[in-house]
Amino acid sequence: MDKRDRLAEFRARVAQLHAGGGEAAAQKQAASGKLLARDRILTLLDEGSFHEYDLFVEHECRDFGMAEKRLAGDGVITGTGTILGFPVCIYAQDFTVAGGSLGLRHARKITKIMDHAMNLRVPLIGINDSGGARIQEGVNSLAGYGEIFYRNSMASGVIPQISVVLGPCAGGAVYSPALTDFVFVVDKISKMFITGPEVIKTVLNEEISMEDLGGARVTAEVSGNAHFFAESEQDCFEQIKRLVTFIPWNNAKKADPFPAKPPRFETPIEKIVPDTPREPFDVRDVVRAVCDDSDFVEIQEHFAANIVVGFARMNGNTVGIVGNQPAVLAGVLDVDAADKAARFIRFCDAFNIPLITLVDLPGYLPGVDQEHAGVIRHGAKILYAYSEATVPKITVILRKAYGGGYIAMCSRHLGADFVFAWPGAEIAVMGSEGAANIIFRREIAGAEDPEARRQEKIQEYSDKFANPYVAAASGHVDALIDPAETRRYLLHALEVSQQKKTVRPERKHGVPPF
């Protein structure tokens, strides 16, 4: 065979492998509204940047007629590339090849690219679209999953890990996304569950559709497994590109700075928050009023919407925002909100992203269901995460900060570097109404005009405690600031905190209330 023939043969082999599972399978993929695995990678990455490895890898299963079966790339595409110039390691499972089923070689391709990501200290992006374990390979398939989970865990807090669920991701397979930092789902395409509708029907005699069990909307809104919800794959890739600009390549770096821009939000900040502590407002408006270009990337927008978390920039540098959301469930902390915030705080701390906390909450959500769901141990996660974090921590108390909620929301007591409060802030054990009703219960009940006495007592408590001065007098608040000065104070606090260094006692790791 001369050189030219060898080149021709090589090209033919590559073309065949690039065809994946073939024309019929490709059409089926298109019919279910999904892009092909290779097209997904090429759409997400910068043009011409994708470089593929392990294209010629083959499975070595000899049982159940597998010996004769050639599976292109063993059902997964792996490589490196860039997103907006940002280097990444990436893999995409190819559903057209044996349903994207995971065998040992398939898994080893994934673990190899994961090892690359760790050695190169660049983010890992995994695109999941798989029917699950390759049953013909038996325990080897399970071994493959285990090796992936181990690497996901080892990479946690070292490199950012992004999972994109673009098809089924069921059974044990879902634990890889669950271990990663950000999970993206697309409406009507993503499906995540441990046990599928058929098993549920057989074992529990309960009927549920795949969509209602683990569809994109459910994972993004109810279970909270997903962080980003998109209407289409294209929309999903745009969201990933946007997110990537806000996070660093690895935990030894800071996110790339951008040119500083003033906020574009037009409502003056002091007009956003109503005076009366019970009136709702959208805390994201406060974020937009203070951050660069009013550009805020919200994470888990639809899950536990009573707390808002996400990334923004201040003078071009990424910051993590945590804010109570009075517009939803009055902004209370509950099981889900604590869980959501704690995970986000730990991401920011791991990746050198300063935290800004915006406080306005009436406390924890009361209820038997919350108590039984473990609001104590879940609520404790937020205390742990804030206390543990050593990145700059800046807190702004916008209005009410009551009880345990005040402590939890990055108070000075949990190690905030700077705590600012607006003049309308109420830092107290609870709201004046509730407090007066408890402290003066007998006096009110015994009064000639109980309602008048009640109002009088509410006023008395309110005059004494419903303000930021008591907390400021004790130094729990560092500065009372004019709302219009919020951005200026935040920028200054971030600037002076740049070299912050916190020394922790030596330990293997803490034992947070997971």
Partner: protein, 105 residues
């Protein structure tokens, strides 16, 4: 996503806050406190054996029947001591989760 447009309020420490309730909050299931004198199916399955008779005294932890579910024979036991007053199922009965199986007194 599935936002409600109705004006809603949430009561925290006696104060009513006008706010939007989440789908998960609105659809939360009421918590029921289990009555230890009622033996119920914790999992759907088939009753394969009944170990007690009406009028028989049982101690806490005594098996009252065997429920086959998830390919396992699960012993269902009494959560409190008492006397069996009523048996609602027989061998072969297919029961849903939460079905009342045996009553004690």
């Amino acid at each position: 996503m599935t936002e409600s447009t109705e004006p809603e309020t949430l009561n925290i420490n006696g104060v009513l806050y006008p706010t939007r309730l989440t789908r998960k909050y609105r659809e939360r299931k009421p918590v029921t406190i289990r009555n230890p004198m009622e033996v119920r199916a914790v999992i759907p399955g088939e009753i394969v054996e009944i170990l007690v008779e009406p009028g028989q005294p049982v101690e806490r932890g005594d098996g009252v029947l065997v429920l086959e579910a998830m390919k396992m024979r699960n012993a269902v036991s009494a959560a409190a001591a008492g006397t069996v007053t009523k048996i609602h199922v027989e061998p072969g009965s297919l029961v849903a989760k939460g079905t009342l199986l045996v009553e004690l007194e």
